[in-house]
Symmetry: D2
């Protein structure tokens, strides 16, 4: 067992940290200005393009995509990517997009790498890897418990040489970005098949007739318009060629599962970055802000929670890293319990850390003057993204209570 | 000791509940439409005026103002008002405004009743009691710990027959409402006086030259534009007549304290209403939403937290009611520890209840489709309104640890 | 609604407080000495008898027994008894016994009052009311979930003019006290009857052949020998006359329920007294103990938790009082949800308060030098006494989620 | 970074686990019997000797002592020892003693290895390494905040060729074990010296005239008599030869600090083993115990907390392992923040896990029938051992809020 990151990990993390300090953090007020200047507009602002060019030059591009036989990406293993992803979480509105490592495109690119045909890859994967287009993932539906895949109502029916999609999706993040050209849609192709073989995944160009963006959704008051927002979308007799099926018919559930594992760990890595950013901000504030005769940093209550936050972040980071290592060495499936564990624990802890950081900043912490409120909303949303905490905790607890079970994978005992 | 509310309490609570069910709840989607129809506009929407007329007819008007020698208001004692205020919290964006019981106007009206001259009352109090105008309270300043009154930077200087105001305020709620005509401003008239005699309160008509609304602030992504938002305001050589001083010179701190007691208990009452609304919503959802083979209401985890929420609400409501009773019978000052206690405990508990309610609603809970997200943001903000929790907890804890101290006022032992 | 206790309540509470200060607290070290002097002995020490005589003279006797048509006791209503019970909790090892208000005798006396025949009352109730004998309650069984009454394994079979008891019970508190003469035993008389009519309650003189105390149990290391400990008891062909049935055949479950309501509220009242005692101790300690240059009372962390503890105690006390009032005015059954609520919330909160109080006392807090460790163990045990928290919370949550349900009884809305 | 334990780690962990399963767990009821058979006796029971012989044969002996230039012990590095120590925590009353890895002897042996003269080592260290004698550590004093070393009241004065010790110590664990021959005593040799140079450490044979065991202390009702209990000791003009000073005069504080680092991490390792034991017990119970129609393992609430416990244990174990690795690679001093972090977080989490495990076992969980209650008391005591949590958290928080600071040592960023 060795807790020292290897040279390559350090090199990428250092580069990412330098990029963050030199370019991304200074770009935050620029983004704010560009957003204020065109309040009605959806999609990324010019500063993102500028950052993307620099990131690409510095080799900080598509790092999320683990190397593999597919010959794409040239990215990092999960273990090496973790510190980089954490750094992007420190400026979560800008850095992931700047380095082409932002959800949901990352997950969609992974799907295309692993399940796409050469034609699908050429048409969608290449421009996504270049950040020339964006994509959205359409799984969640209004009115059903999305964590229960058997409840999906969207139909994908074969009609001659085409698939016909009918249904309604929401929380399609990024779909209102004008650059978004691809919708990855999950629907039922065989409603009477076995529970986990009823669903298929189909690639729908956003401009296809019958696709209607019904409305944008807000998340705790944020519309996230620079990321293309979160759309509710109606699919009415939307027709795509048979070749647009991703993977095999009935493979939708398995594909979705494959997508969610890495997605969840990426979310956790970035969430830890948010916590570190919050602690940086707190450190500054606690030393500078004077109340009742002394800086806040001298208060016992503030110290205690800083200690608490630090220990939580350190322990959870190690669990995320171990999960990444397990995924790299044993495969995503072998790391299922760990992924569930961090999915439940990390966003919850980070929300708590941000909550207290806001408290320390006073009312200012709730405004757009600091990134805390925005990160707080993001962390809160993570507890529901890819399924609510409770579903994962219940599944993990069930496994834990199985008589054969003992500890997680890879533990000494 | 008797826990049964008296007839008058029941009568007003029943009337308010009926008004809520018959008029306010059905008006919520109307407000949403009217907001969507004029997204750029600040201030109340037409539906509020409609509700105000009904509320007034039904005698649900200005109930927040306890009866007194002042001969105004004809409102209710704190103890009788509590259930009414709680009911308004169930629809916190509409009901308080509909019944002319919304902050910050309530607090400002109280100030004018208790400290205003007959001329000030005629000019400002009367139209406020009629809801013909609105007001804002300008105490908090950017860049200082507002809970430490000695740090206030705004200057209010005498120059001949006028007061000249210079400074910067923020979180002036309601100030961007076009109907807002009065700013109650706290500033230092005597920066070298004793710590709590340096400040005075002055009445500034919003249209006075030198008053500039710098920008609106957001609270967890919400701009609360229908309430006139939360403004940052600059005061540059703003001149008002000498007669616009509220109370006596140097009395600003004492006046602010007098204002905050009732304000805090009103916040707590309404917050409990938010919790009850959340529990209503949860009850519906948990019975209707099916996941993995059964309604959520059958899940142990859901039941446990419903139990937990119920007990918290019941216990804290009683503490709020007792605080109200103490204020009525012994005066606001005698209830100081109780007010601190509920100020710390209620918003924290309600935030937690809303957090779990959102979790039960899944991603939908974060959107504008349900009032949960908005109420969550409001409860979160309450933990900072009128001073952060920590300041109140520290003060209460200090008192609790005093060797002479034992329990709160009015306890048997 | 009126939060002021009436004169009678005050009078008894004042008397009890004076008795506590003048006699009970000074007796604590005496009890410790008497326990150390005869370590092998079970049962009360001489000091308890001395205190009982004083208590009786001062009218502090059997106050737990609400007045009723039964013409016994002459005690207080639940609402008036609450402050007295809380005071006894401040010295929970001595005061309840001193005032003949200690479990399980209180519950057993109530049973005899409500369900006993005149003969049973004469034989058992009179001497219990005089504290000439003690009793134990035998419901819980090793190896079964006692909160599920259908699982009771003890059999009570009719054989001619006798009942024959066979089975095994544990946590029979007080059974090793040599003064204990009565065992109230719950067993199945009709194992095939309807779920809640299978059980009956039978009165077994402790000396009956076939009754064997198997062993004493410890609770977190305490054997509570001065209270007669907690016994495991074997019943082998134990024969008692038919007249020893308490209430009607098949009425055991209903009788047990009737017993548990008041029992639970008494436990909660005393638990609040433990919390107040802890806060008293903390107040002394925090002002006297110097570390790193100042008294602990000046530390922010200590102040914050003192505030937190104070608010919890105040809010939960009000809920306990309201529950008592409901029991008095509407009956125990109408207060079922409230009883469940306090049963879950109070011991948990008090355990937390004691945990932090111990922390403040350092290692000394864990020893017998202060009553904190003992009270901590008692509060911990309360979370399991009369059924684990979880069972009550689940039941309360189920009720809360019922579509018809809203708030607890007696609430305004 | 590599999370796979090396071969040697696995080999020792496997051996320890086998020893635990084959010998230690079956010995638990034997110990209980031997304790019951001689209730008045202090010190280890015969079964411990039997286990020691087996452990020694199997090479499971003195593994706590990291290899070093001292040429003693032949133990394991901290990182390799961690899984072994965790396994001993699963049977914390027997396994550490069986493998000669029990506090306080481990810490005392470390002191003798690092600071002892050859003569001291020959006289004390050799027999301790052989488990022929036992030792106690006398630092904490009644009536002072022991975490503040400047408050130590015990005097160690030079008088000719001797040191004269006067003072009072408590929580001298093991001192009533008849095999205990050595007391390591900290006292002030230079009360006017610099704050951290006033103290010295002196070796006092327990039989020295003037040493009086005043009384045993209990910890949450446990006297831990088989470990020699926790003694209060009076030192009155206790004279030892000058050669009995450990290390240099004025070096007491530094020596104590050196002792506490490894001591704290050992405590944490064992505490994690307690948590794993609890989870094992829970797993069995939850599957076997039926209530209200199904096994507890099917309840959502039970599953949720099992998940929660699992994630806490996994994350904290990694933090403990990383701390061990840091101590091995960078030295104990470099790991100071990590040691503080685990010292605060691990016992708190483990106490919580044990608390809920007890709840699942019902009242049985509080008795001696399962090891839960005993482990709960041990975990609770750990939060005070070697200084209360709050002192460590405050120190860690202070460091975290330093402007220069960022993360813990060895983190990537």
């Amino acid at each position: 067992m060795d807790f020292r990151p290897d040279e390559m990990t350090r090199a990428f993390a250092d580069e990412a940290a330098a990029f963050l300090d030199e370019h991304v953090l200074p770009a935050e007020p620029v983004l704010a200005q560009q957003l204020a200047a065109a309040p009605g507009e959806w999609g990324p602002r010019p500063i993102v393009r500028e950052l993307q060019e620099i990131a690409r030059e510095r080799g900080l591009w598509n790092l999320f995509l683990p190397p593999g036989p597919h010959g794409r990406g040239g990215g990092l293993s999960n273990l090496r990517y973790a510190p980089v992803a954490e750094i992007t979480g420190r400026s979560s509105r800008l850095a992931p997009a700047a380095m082409n490592c932002a959800a949901p495109d990352t997950g969609n690119m992974e799907l295309l790498v692993h399940f796409g045909t050469p034609e699908q890859q050429e048409r969608w994967l290449e421009p996504l890897l270049e950040a020339r287009i964006r994509s959205a993932f359409c799984m969640t539906e209004p009115g059903t418990a999305s964590s229960d895949a058997s409840q999906i109502g969207t139909r994908v029916q074969r009609d001659g040489g085409e698939w016909v999609v009918n249904g309604r999706k929401w929380f399609a993040t990024g779909a209102m970005n004008p650059e978004c050209e691809l919708l990855v849609v999950m629907g039922k192709t065989d409603p009477n098949g076995p529970r986990h073989r009823q669903q298929s995944m189909v690639l729908v160009p956003r401009g296809t007739p019958g696709v209607t963006v019904v409305r944008p959704l807000t998340v705790l008051g944020y519309d996230d318009r620079d990321h293309g927002g979160h759309a509710e979308i109606r699919f009415e007799d939307v027709r795509v060629p048979a070749a647009n099926l991703l993977g095999e018919p009935g493979g939708g559930f398995a594909i979705a599962q494959a997508r969610l594992g890495p997605g969840r760990i990426h979310h956790c890595m970035r969430a830890l970055g948010m916590a570190e950013r919050a602690l940086d901000l707190v450190r500054g504030r606690a030393n500078e802000r004077i109340a009742f005769g002394g800086p806040l940093a001298r208060r016992g209550v503030v110290r205690e929670w800083a200690a608490d936050a630090r220990v939580q972040v350190e322990a959870l980071r190690l669990l995320v890293l171990k999960t990444a290592w397990l995924m790299d060495t044993e495969g995503n499936r072998a790391a299922m319990k760990e992924i569930q564990g961090i999915k439940v624990a990390v966003p919850r802890a980070v929300q708590g850390i941000l909550d207290r950081a806001i408290q320390l900043f006073g009312a200012a912490g709730l405004t757009g003057d600091h990134p805390l409120a925005e990160m707080f909303a993001a962390a809160r949303a993570l507890r529901l993204a890819d399924g609510p905490d409770e579903v994962h905790a219940a599944s993990l607890g069930k496994a834990e209570l199985r008589l054969s079970s003992s500890t997680m994978e890879g533990a000494v005992q």
